[in-house]
């Protein structure tokens, strides 16, 4: 396998980890809704730990291998519009994801249960940003 094939595999694998982890967080959001919780906060926290590793590995991996791919491949440049747009969305989704995680962690304490709502808003916005990145990666507007 050539270097390009390895980089593409690692980039796609990182993207799978990132989107997969966001989907797990959505499942946990549904499973811990106050009206009918399926999981206790402590049980959910047990699943959050490995999922955090997955989301961090995916977030860092898509960036590192994505930029490496753009440098390695003659047809793409880091300053191409669709790549620059994806980088901006990556930064926004990472910031929103971090805010979401902090809000949900805070909401685990009964006295801060209201923090769940902003956590949900941040997680939704972060997911939309990642969804938009995926659209850019497939359609490559302007390429």
């Amino acid at each position: 396998m050539a270097l390009y094939d390895w980089l593409l595999f690692l980039h796609v694998l990182s993207a799978v980890a990132l989107v997969g982890a966001l989907a797990v967080f959505w499942a946990l959001v549904l499973a811990t809704r106050p009206a009918a919780p399926l999981l206790s906060q402590s049980a959910a926290a047990g699943i959050v730990k490995p999922t955090n590793i997955l989301v961090i590995a995916g977030t860092v991996g898509v960036l590192v291998f994505g930029i490496w791919l753009a440098i390695d491949h003659d047809d793409y440049q880091v300053w191409d519009g669709w790549i620059l747009g994806s980088l901006i969305l990556w930064a926004i989704s990472g910031w929103l994801g971090d805010r979401s995680g902090k809000a949900f962690t805070r909401a685990m304490q009964p006295e801060h249960a209201a923090a769940r709502r902003p956590g949900l808003i941040y997680h939704t916005a972060s997911s939309v940003a990642v969804f938009a990145i995926l659209v850019m990666m497939i359609w490559k507007p302007g390429a």
Partner: protein, 154 residues
Amino acid sequence: MSVIAAIRPDDVNFPLFLHVLGAMLLVGMLFAVATAVLISWRGESDAAALTRFGLRTLLLGVLPAYVLMRIGAEWTYAAADYPDEFDPAWIGIGYITADAGVVLILISIILSAIGLRKLRSGGGLGLGRAVGIISLLLLVAYLVAVWAMAAKPD
């Protein structure tokens, strides 16, 4: 053959998007099932709740994600309009993992349905563990499929 696969008409983008999105969600849902069951296996006090979460995730998350991935795959293949002699290894790996995977997913669905019923009367943890092991096997198979789809070996 990799060149043929790399050049894609615009008609392929939407079905490819559905295929990729479905595959990503499928891996995430399988990860959720396997993680929940493995944690419950360690004898956590929330073992029944974690197993219930794992089994419900399989029914409500894994199956729809698989259907999205599989429909997207078939639609992409049709839209790409590959030549008749185009039969690379990566498409073969994709079909094998998808078609063998659906058998394991169907077995898991049956085990999950029975397991969820047994959990109400205090049992079902063993069935949950079986579903967790199957989910781990599927995760490994789909990681191989991700490698095949990305690296596209001839």
